[in-house]
């Protein structure tokens, strides 16, 4: 998988604590608590990891 490119940062509507980094087949979501979630372009969650406070991206 290609690493997310910093110039491909998007805001996530309704989730100000989360940023989205776009690549061809995936979106990588990064929370300000360090949580990570990688979703395929079809929306399937391929990987997720909670942040330092135990919350996942979808809980932010």
């Amino acid at each position: 998988m290609y690493p997310p490119e910093l110039d491909q940062i998007h805001d996530v509507p309704g989730s100000p604590k989360v940023k989205r980094l776009r690549s061809s087949y995936h979106n990588t979501f990064v929370g300000e608590n360090g949580a990570i979630e990688i979703r395929s372009s079809s929306g399937t969650i391929e990987f997720f990891k909670p942040g330092a406070d135990g919350k996942t991206v979808s809980e932010l």
Binding site: M1, Y2, P3, E5, L6, D7, Q8, I9, H10, D11, R22, S23, S24, Y25, H26, S40, S41, S42, T44, E46
Partner: protein, 186 residues
Amino acid sequence: MNPLEELKREIESKIPGVKAVIDAPRDPRAGGFLDLHLDDHGAVVEWSPRERRFGVSSLPGTGFGGADEAYDDVASTVLRLVEILKEGQHTDPKELLLNELRDKLGISQEELAKTLDLRQPTLSKMERRRDVLISTLRKIVEGLGGKLEIAARFPRALVQLVQFTEPGRTARKSARRKPSRLKADR
């Protein structure tokens, strides 16, 4: 007009019913993506302002790399997207061995050897080597009708290294003075 917007307009005019959505980042200099769907088939186009290219991907399932194919202009990108979306085709992964590339282009070893003024067994050996001179690789690629490019990828940049692929382009003398000289001037 933004190249992705131009591509979107063209593809919508060529394929009625296509769903085309631009996904552009907040930095307008960074390019972006065009997501395309027609019935159950899809494709993704990435516009790279740095490389001035459209990257096209349409693999079954989930791909993990960058773009599979690259096109320099809107017209050729649209032609390929029409094939992909209307005929249900998939993109070809961009990694190929030299002999696979030659086969894909429909050029026989004998034909390429003749173009390069080589014996066919010599070309056969070259295609199986794990290392060749850059000048040799350039001749092979040009013999296939392409242009060799060598790039160095860094976390935030892609740099074309031209001195190995463009004859006559050699190292330029740096305009900066040596540190020792600067010290002596003080």
